[in-house]
Amino acid sequence: MTLPRVVLVDDHGLFRAGVRAELDGLVDVVGDVGTVGEAIDCIVASEPDVVLLDVQMPEGGGAEVIRGVAPRRPAVRFLALSVSDAPEDVISIIRAGARGYVTKTISGPELADAVRRVAGGDAVFSPRLAGFVLDAFAGREDAAPAVADPELDQLTAREREVLRHIARGYLYKEIALRLGISAKTVEAHVSAVLRKLQLSNRHELSRWAVQRGWVE
């Protein structure tokens, strides 16, 4: 099995070196860069499988990198890696197109695992991200709002159940075991949630964020 090719984008040189060392032998780090401009050039040139992306950087941050790369290299996937667990950062980078969100305290092997899953086309949700999503979509079953695309604005019972297990700290394969479904099905549910998070025009999500004072 070939190792996934990874570009590391973070404005913190020390942190890049640390992640490089931790991922050594687990993935193939083909480049690490520290600015938005360099990152776009490097990713377009090297066409990695996955970009490990810092959320907060000068000149627009991770979202700007995704916007710069996506039209030219649509096959490249992004996994956000951040110290921040603030909802506005999580939601904004996911909305920009990242396939997952993990915090920087994650261990090397876990990070490598997350990279492999993103490279394989799956979504990666940390417990906290799962919590945010559940919170954002909370109370939707009973108060069905009149929306243009109700399918995008609601989670199915199964998706909700999967997210709750992620928030409770279960791994995908443990969730599959508990719910009596295959790991592939768990991943399909998570990807569906990610799609809803990215695509629904989400006045509910906006209302949720406004209520909590995260966006003006």
Partner: protein, 426 residues
């Protein structure tokens, strides 16, 4: 307002009597006043009902405007009292319907003036009308320039100087005199001056002189305006800079008290990795709480905040990271408190039996139903093998939940970690 001769008498008497009979210096009483608090301040000192003084001032105003001039003089010279509160008119104007109040006042004043005019108590159109216009304009401008001193930024922005997301929001809200009102005031004053000149025939007498004066004044304005503007802008910038400095100082003080202290401690204890990790974790939590102070709603005590506090306490005491994810929230009543206490016991149990494993706590509040899951990735155990007399989980968690109308379940198997499920419904 009072009669023309009274204020002077009162003022001299005030000067004489202050040291002996009344130790308090003479002040305007703004909270009980109507316009500027002059009469409300004067009255008690002179032993007269303020109403009498007010009537005196009104009469004097009608008699050639002397009252107005005297009142304005008193207003300017006598300092305001220490007590808070604003005069009646200021309060009325400060309200939301200020325009209606203002127009009402204008009509009221007009009515009074016309009444005096009809009675013949009148100095003459040539003085009174321009004077009123100019007074109105002057009042508007002065009011604006006084209101411009409020520069406190909103508390929320002060609370999170860096912004939760590292994007500093520097929207400094400086109260600026709104140009419209100042312009209106200036126009009123100019109009008053012109009407005065016109009514007194000054404009007809010598058109050339008037024109010359007008041109000179315009020229002066054009010359001086940029200086004024620059001065005003300089003041604004200086204010903004001062606020920035203040914020920087606040940030520096916070970092010094917290982060630098922790870093120093960590260097000292570099040989004890567990201790260092606990210190770092604690500092991280504090810094996050500080950065997010403005964005998260943390009003009073709720289930989520209580859980946060309980988890933080355990992290501090035992040096193990516990990840808490909370969805939804509810007020902290007796049952919620029981839930928090049971959660704490469950986490402590996980710490005790799975000291090196990751611990996650997930809390979800959905309407009346509150659930908490405490999960560790430790060795797990055989539930049936625990002797029934052992308190621990059984008593402190299961018993506590049942006493408060909830229930608890333990899911575990050797080698698969442990999860404690706590449910409180209703």
């Amino acid at each position: 307002m009072i009669g023309g001769s009274r204020p002077r008498a009162v003022r001299t008497s005030a000067v004489v009597t202050v040291p002996e009979t009344q130790p308090a210096p003479f002040r305007r009483d703004r909270s009980r006043g109507i316009l500027g608090g002059v009469c409300a301040g004067l009255g008690p000192r002179a032993g007269v009902d303020p109403l009498v003084l007010r009537m005196g001032f009104v009469l004097a105003a009608a008699a050639g405007g002397v009252g107005v001039a005297l009142y304005v003089l008193c207003w300017a010279l006598i300092p305001a009292g220490d007590g808070g509160g604003r005069p009646l008119v200021a309060r009325a104007v400060g309200r939301r319907e200020s325009w209606m109040v203002a127009s009402g006042l204008v009509f009221l004043v007009l009515a009074v003036l016309l009444l005096f005019r009809a009675w013949g108590v009148w100095v003459g159109d040539a003085i009174v009308w321009p004077l009123i216009l100019a007074t109105g304009g002057g009042a508007l401008i002065w009011r604006q320039s006084q209101g411009a001193t409020v520069v406190e930024p909103p508390p929320r922005e002060r609370a999170r100087p860096g912004g939760g997301a590292g994007r500093p929001r520097r929207t400094l809200r400086l109260a600026r005199p709104s140009l419209g009102i100042v312009a209106l005031g200036a126009a009123l004053i100019c109009g008053g001056a012109l009407v005065f000149l016109w009514l007194n025939g000054a404009l007809d007498l010598d058109r050339e002189v008037t024109l010359a004066v007008f041109v000179v004044v315009t020229a002066m304005t054009l010359i001086l305006a940029p200086f004024w503007l620059r001065l005003a802008r300089g003041l604004t910038e200086e204010r903004a800079e001062r606020i920035r400095t203040q914020e920087r100082a606040e940030l520096a003080a916070h970092l010094h008290d917290s982060v630098l202290q922790t870093l120093a401690l960590m260097q000292k204890r570099a040989d004890e990795p567990r201790e260092v990790a606990a210190l770092a974790r604690r500092q991280e939590r504090e810094l996050r709480a500080w950065l997010n102070a403005g964005s998260r709603r943390r009003d009073g005590s709720s289930l989520a905040t209580a859980l946060e506090a309980a988890v933080a306490e355990i992290e501090d005491a035992h040096g193990v990271p516990v990840e808490l994810v909370a969805v939804g929230d509810r007020p902290l009543d007796e049952r919620a408190e029981a839930l928090v206490a049971a959660t704490r016991e469950a986490v402590l149990n996980a710490v005790k039996f799975a000291p090196d494993a990751a611990i996650s706590v997930y809390a979800e509040v959905n309407g009346e139903r509150a659930e908490v899951f405490v999960r560790d990735r430790g060795p797990g155990f055989d539930l049936d093998a625990i002797p029934p007399d052992r308190r621990g989980l059984r008593e402190s968690v299961l018993g506590r939940m049942e006493r408060h109308g909830g229930r608890a379940a333990i899911h575990t198997r050797p080698g698969e970690g442990t999860e404690v499920e706590l449910v409180m419904s209703g």
